[in-house]
């Protein structure tokens, strides 16, 4: 009976190993398909999206123009210098050259600083959008930014926001002169509420910098920015216009009769229009929004109102969230455009990963053979149990949807080493104490007390947003849980049956 039990357990382990390492093949549509789920590989082991961003052409052109103008000025200055050259000494020329070099160095430093700012803004945007894994590199010479992103449902959205811009500006409605620019905006927050009539109002609160606030106070003396004020001015204007039309018609009919009276009416109209303010608009990108409230350095903008349609309300909310996100993640001092957007397979092939796995398994097999030689039957049974452990572990990793990154592979190695240590300790203690129950208790105590810090590390890693580290944490966590349960259920039973 004891032998039958051992044989049954061994057969179950063999079956599990066959499923884990070979798979279950079922015929579907004239081909054999493996029904066991495949491993989910991370960006560095499978594929990724690589986006190259370059400084926008317009920007470069304008910079070139500026440079040309600068060089033109320099030329003219040089010309003047030439005329004066006869008078000046060589020493002064040298100091001028040093100054010029210093100037160009400063401009270079500023350009590099701007590129760095854009890179930081992109990083902030990706973090704010919840991108869990990315690599950004910057070429400081031409400003090219290379972004590597994992391929998933959100990749295209991330790519859109890499270069998206939403400048918040307050402009003169007539002349389109920028009164408050994007640099004077500190941050933006969005909110939504329901008013008395039951309609949803989505608002964006734009906070200005100190400089912006001072400028706003100055602007408000001459400009109307609040929607209520603008409405008042516009209705006044339309009233004036209608009065003007009426007066013109009166003029045409009663020209000969009341010439003096008409002139007096015109004068009064002119007097009334004199004190009206100019109109300023708050523009985000190319859309003009209504300003509903101004309080200190905060301007409340109404993004939209809707009574019942939830889709429209959601659209307004996402519009407001987008403005806030683009504003709060930092400025883009240089305009960029997408130069290339490519799907890139990893240079680490599946074949290479397979070879690595085979090498690791071969080493484990050698260690298990050593166990079998040292601990004889107990060693053989523990080794069979170990193979079952690896099989179940590989199935768990696949079915818990854990992503395998390079860090994840490292976690698998750590878990295999930990289980080897556990098996060796258990065999050693069983040999010494000769009481399985006592040996098992001691092994659990020894191993698990020592790995509490590793459990802490695993849990913290599980909670991180970053894919590579969470992969490490998840694989470690499942591995530790499996070591605890599997050895208690399978290894202990096998050794117990052998003892009997």
């Amino acid at each position: 009976m004891r032998r039958v039990k051992i044989l049954t357990i061994v057969l179950v382990i063999v079956l599990l190993s066959l499923i884990a390492f070979g798979g279950i093949y079922i015929q579907t549509q004239n081909r054999m398909e493996n029904k066991v789920r495949d491993y989910k590989l991370g960006r560095e082991l499978d594929s990724q999206r690589v986006v190259e961003l370059k400084v926008a052409q317009e920007e470069t052109d304008s910079t070139k123009d500026e440079e040309n103008t600068e060089s033109g000025t320099t030329e003219s200055t040089e010309a003047t210098e030439n005329t004066e050259a006869t008078e000046s000494t060589e020493a002064t020329e040298n100091t001028e050259t040093t100054e010029n070099t210093e100037d160009s160095n400063k401009t270079n430093e500023e350009t590099i600083k701007n590129y760095e700012t854009v890179k930081t803004t992109i990083e902030n945007r990706l973090d704010s959008l919840g991108a869990t894994d990315y690599t950004i590199s910057l070429n400081k010479v031409d400003g090219t930014i290379r972004v590597e992103l994992p391929e998933n449902d959100f990749t295209d959205m991330y790519i859109y926001y890499l270069t998206a811009e939403s400048r918040i500006e307050i402009i003169d409605k007539e002349t389109e002169e920028v009164l408050i620019n994007n640099d004077m905006i500190k941050q933006a927050k969005y909110s939504y509420n329901v008013n008395n009539s039951g309609s949803y109002i989505v608002n964006e609160v734009i906070e200005l910098t100190k400089e912006g606030q001072a400028k706003l106070t100055e602007i408000l003396n001459n400009y109307a920015l609040l929607q209520t004020e603008i409405d008042g001015i516009e209705s006044e204007k339309s009233n004036t216009e209608s009065t003007a039309t009426e007066s013109t018609s009166t003029e045409s009919t009663q020209t000969t009769e009341n010439t003096t009276q008409t002139t007096s009416t015109e004068n009064t109209t002119e007097e009334n229009s004199e004190p009206t303010k100019k109109v300023a608009n708050l523009v985000v990108g190319e859309t003009t929004y209504e300003v509903s409230k101004i309080e200190g350095n905060k301007i409340t903008v109404q993004i939209g109102t809707q009574t019942s349609n939830t889709t429209s309300v959601n659209n307004y909310i996402s519009q407001a969230a987008e403005i806030a996100m683009l504003q709060n993640t930092g400025k883009m001092p240089v305009q960029y455009e997408t130069y290339s957007n490519r799907y890139e397979y990893s240079n680490i092939t599946k074949q290479q990963i397979g070879i690595f796995a085979l090498v690791v398994l071969s080493i484990v097999l050698v260690i298990l053979i050593i166990f079998s030689v040292i601990y004889k039957v107990s060693g053989i049974l523990a080794s069979i149990s170990f193979i079952g452990f690896i099989a179940i572990y590989s199935i768990i990793i696949r079915y818990t949807n854990v992503m395998i990154s390079v860090e994840g592979i490292c976690a698998i190695i750590i878990i295999i080493l930990l289980n080897l240590k556990f098996t060796q300790e258990l065999l050693e203690k069983t040999k010494k104490v000769n009481l399985l129950k006592e040996a098992l208790k001691l092994t659990y105590k020894d191993i698990f007390i020592k790995i509490i810090p590793i459990i802490i590390l695993s849990i913290v890693a599980c909670l991180t947003k970053w894919d590579n580290l969470s992969s490490f944490g998840m694989i470690m966590f499942w591995g530790i849980v499996l070591i605890a349960l599997y050895n208690f259920i399978v290894t202990r039973t096998l050794l117990k049956l052998k003892k009997q």
């Binding site: 560095e44 690589v50 690599t135 950004i136 590199s137 910057l138 070429n139 400081k140 010479v141 031409d142 090219t144 930014i145 290379r146 490519r342 799907y343 890139e344 397979y345 990893s346 240079n347 092939t349 390079v406 860090e407 592979i409 490292c410 190695i413 750590i414 007390i449 020592k450 790995i451 509490i452 810090p453 590793i454 802490i456 590390l457 913290v460 890693a461 991180t464 970053w466 590579n468 580290l469 490490f472």
Partner: protein, 210 residues
Amino acid sequence: MKKRDIIILAIMMIIIVIGIILACTIGFNKQLRYSDSQKIDIYVGEEVDLNKIKEIANEVIGNNNMVQIIEIYGDMVTIRAKSISEEQKNTIVNKIKESYEFEQTAENTNIENVPATRIRDILKKYVLPLSVSGLIILIYMLIRYHKKGLLPVMLNTILIPIIIELVLLSVLVITRIPIGIYTPSLILLVFVFATIFVINKIEKLPEIKA
């Protein structure tokens, strides 16, 4: 402290000092994936055999190169190396043309620069999780082994992992082993074993009598 421990510590310190000097002067050696490099993209128009292209790249540029299949249908290939000359570019394109039929010529293939990734950008995401877990581990150790004295427990828990990690980084910089995608895993692996080593060491410490 035993004489053997002092010798080991002294050797470690020497390695760390040399490592710091080298890191400050010549810096770390980076894997091609993370260093300034050049690339050429070739549109083959049919499914590419990566090994074949890799062989050509090895033959023309040398072994320090990266060959990757790009685009979803696997019909385009990118070859990346520290630097690619015009001559090398022409040879690669023409050699690939011998195996595949495609329109792209050596003349209309551009050599493009690929910017380097900074080591701090690769490692910065590890700093916060490792610091948080380090802090929680420290608190756990102080509570669990309070009978062994707070100062020795604290010093061992903080210093040993830091010294071992510094030795690892110094070895990497001295031996010029390139920093690459496996480096963070190596750091994690060393952190795990350093922690186990700390526990073994602290457990051997005698308890302080009240």
